[in-house]
């Protein structure tokens, strides 16, 4: 009996090992005929994107005989942890997807190769948008990744509902958004104004209104600060903005949106029950696949604050090279190639704001729902490009804290003034170290 048990356990363990893909990294990576094989790992995996990447890598291999690329695509939820384990073990990864959220810890642990030297004199560098350059080389002059595109909020709206409510066009400012949402909202008909985000990762939308109200004094290198050096949460403008935001929740959003995360918000817009949604461009593809027809919806630029300006913070991710890579030269070559012309197709197919200046001339980005993005990128004085401190060590802790505190305010258990005071203290302390 005991022997049987031991055999069973051994068999199960072996099976488990096979399942978890315990294939060790091919150290040498020298394939047939002296080819170099690069291991590339993606993070924000989805099946369509993986196919697209494979196609791109096949083109790269054609253009660069002697280099083969093996793509590793872990499931999104575990990808960053998997990448972390690979980097920690010091083998099995040459090129990897680096996100603004992971660049901090990865570079701090000395797992990322600094490409600054390799990018000097690279002709592709001048073709990048200013936004992209800002993220490619950080404040210390280090280049840990080249972005492949940007995620940035803009206002999805229902053209038909806005018109029915008697408005000439989509809201341009937060004030207009609040009044339009309140007018459209009618819970008895299961119709709501704004898809409010009270659940996971709610700080993005909240910061959007705070930054719009502080647009004249924002520190563009760190949008959680104002030019006086204090935190954005310490200003009287933020108090006004937060109270407005809570008003938007109370008068123009579903009661249950206290708990809404990404899926619920997007669903509320695509199922036709909610008129406004502040979200990233990848939602364009989701709405295209929904029951809403093309003439029922559109995308407008981010709502502006009282001074007619708004900030446009961007989340980003890109391609970087592992410090432990034995083929850095080829790996950098691949990163440069991915950051050239192929990046525009990658941005189109993934609904990302593109990284090349030339992409703005592309018809694709000039029409329909994309027009709002082009309007924002071509008016940098109105939609000020800013960087949020997303690479801070405490960013995930902050996301959780901000989510919990905002929910407390929405549930009436905390005042807006207390929330701002707490956040001001939190960031001040963190920056003081």
């Amino acid at each position: 009996m005991r022997k049987k048990l031991i055999s069973a356990v051994a068999a199960m363990s072996a099976f488990g090992l096979v399942l978890t893909g315990c294939a060790g990294g091919d150290e040498g990576n020298k394939g047939e005929g002296g080819d170099v094989t690069l291991q590339m790992v993606e993070s924000l995996t989805n099946p369509a994107r993986t196919d697209l990447l494979k196609g791109m890598l096949a083109d790269f291999e054609k253009a660069n005989p002697g280099i083969k690329v093996q793509l590793v695509s872990p499931p999104t939820e575990q990808a960053d942890q998997k990448i972390q384990q690979m980097l920690q073990s010091g083998s099995g990864v040459d090129v990897l997807e680096v996100r603004d959220l992971t660049v901090g810890p990865f570079s701090n642990n000395k797992w990322l190769y600094d490409m600054a030297g390799d990018l000097k004199g690279w002709e592709g560098y001048d073709l990048l948008t200013d936004q992209t350059k800002k993220f490619t080389v950080d404040a210390d002059g280090k280049a840990y990744f080249v972005p492949y595109g940007f995620y940035g909020l803009s206002l999805f709206y229902r053209t038909d509902l806005v018109k029915e409510a008697g408005f000439a066009g989509p809201p341009k400012s937060w004030d207009e958004l609040i009044s339009q949402a309140a007018k459209i909202q009618d819970p008895t008909k299961n119709r709501y104004g704004y898809a409010f985000r009270g659940g996971a990762n709610s700080s993005g939308q909240l910061m959007s209104i705070l930054e719009a109200y502080n647009a004249d004094n924002l520190d563009v290198e760190n949008a959680y600060k104002v030019t006086s050096g204090k935190t954005i949460f310490s200003t009287p403008e933020s108090q006004v903005a937060l109270d407005k935001y809570i008003e938007l929740f109370k008068t123009g959003s579903p009661e249950s949106s206290v708990a809404w995360g990404y899926a619920e918000m997007v669903q509320a817009f695509t199922n036709g029950s909610t008129a406004f949604l502040l979200q990233d461009p990848e939602v364009i593809a989701v709405v295209n696949d929904s029951t809403l027809t093309k003439d029922q919806w559109n995308v407008a630029p981010n709502p502006v604050g009282p001074t007619g300006k708004a900030a446009w913070p961007m989340a980003t991710a890109g391609w970087g090279v592992a410090e432990s890579s034995k083929h850095k030269e080829e790996a950098v070559k691949l990163v440069k190639w991915l950051s050239g012309d192929p990046s525009t197709k990658f941005a189109q197919d993934n609904s990302l704001v593109p990284i090349l200046k030339s992409a703005g001339e592309d018809e694709f980005f000039k029409t329909g729902p994309w027009a709002g993005y082009v309007e924002m990128t071509s008016n940098p004085d109105t939609w000020i490009s800013v960087i949020e401190p997303r690479s801070s060590a405490w960013w995930t802790e902050w996301m959780k804290r901000s989510e919990t505190d905002l929910q407390q305010v929405l549930l009436g258990k905390m005042s807006t003034a207390d929330l701002l005071k707490g956040w001001d203290e939190y960031w001040t302390q963190k920056w003081e170290g």
């Binding site: 009270g198 579903p254 206290v258 919990t404």
Partner: protein, 258 residues
């Protein structure tokens, strides 16, 4: 790891901090709330699971047409991942588009949608309902197996003595399967205490940390890269589980020797 400052942010320096992580956790105002929630989560999930599971097992004991099919349907939830069930229930409890509110409104129990997962008092109710649905099956399986081992002579003797249904249940059935009941309950306590899947998928511990239990709190720390604190919390969870496991093994031994 539990005794070191071990943060993903800086793995180049992981100094020994002794009981520092434990002190940080216990000093956190969340600690008491999380432990209380864990107890509520276990007790309020377990009792209904046991009662409903028992009733289903009694119902499935007698032979009737399609009993096999019934059993398969009843036991089906056990084969589904807890995380998946959490996601399904999250949408079922969705205030505007969820089937739960739709049913309640059609029957006329409520007049407007109930914000289940957005209301701090109702969110815990919602996750517990989902957990009850998920766990009833396990009790049904275990108790049914035990019931089928109760000799028919005992029931015949009870009937001869003029025992009614209730007396048969309390004097014959329950005493005979008592050991299975006790062991199953203990096993389930360990299991439920250690089971974050449904809460994680339904509320993520929200709204405002109202549905945070020890294991979801631990997940939160690992997501924040605070492995030192997460390990210390893991230690505390282990401590609780060791107590119950010890009781389980003791009872198991006693049953064997008797």
């Amino acid at each position: 790891m539990a005794f070191r400052k071990w943060s993903l942010w800086d793995l180049t320096s992981t100094p020994f901090v002794g009981l520092g992580n434990f002190q940080t956790l216990i000093a956190d105002p969340m600690f008491g709330k999380v432990m209380l929630n864990s107890v509520i989560w276990v007790v309020c999930s377990l009792v209904p699971q046991l009662l409903i599971g028992f009733l289903i097992a009694l119902g499935l004991r007698k032979k009737f047409r399609f009993r096999g099919l019934y059993q398969a349907v009843v036991f089906y939830p056990w084969a589904v991942s807890g995380f998946l069930i959490g996601i399904l229930f999250r949408w079922m409890f969705n205030s505007e588009f969820g089937v739960v509110n739709d049913l309640l409104m059609r029957i006329g129990i409520v007049s407007k949608p109930v914000p289940w997962l957005a209301n701090p008092d109702l969110a815990l109710v919602a996750v517990i309902v989902a957990n009850i649905w998920y766990g009833v099956t396990f009790f049904s399986i275990m108790i049914l197996a035990a019931l089928q081992s109760v000799p028919d002579e005992l029931y015949e003797a009870a009937a001869l003595d003029g025992a009614g249904r209730w007396q048969t249940l309390t004097r014959v059935t329950i005493p005979t399967i008592r050991s299975t009941l006790v062991l199953t309950v203990l096993l389930r306590i360990i299991w439920i205490f250690n089971f974050p899947d449904i809460i994680y998928a339904m509320t993520g511990g929200g709204p405002g940390d109202q549905t945070q239990i020890a294991t979801t709190w631990m997940i939160q720390y690992t997501q924040q890269g605070e492995y030192g604190l997460a390990s210390a919390l893991g230690f505390i969870i282990m401590g609780v589980l060791v107590v119950f496991t010890g009781m389980y093994l003791m009872l198991l031994n006693r049953e064997r020797t008797s």
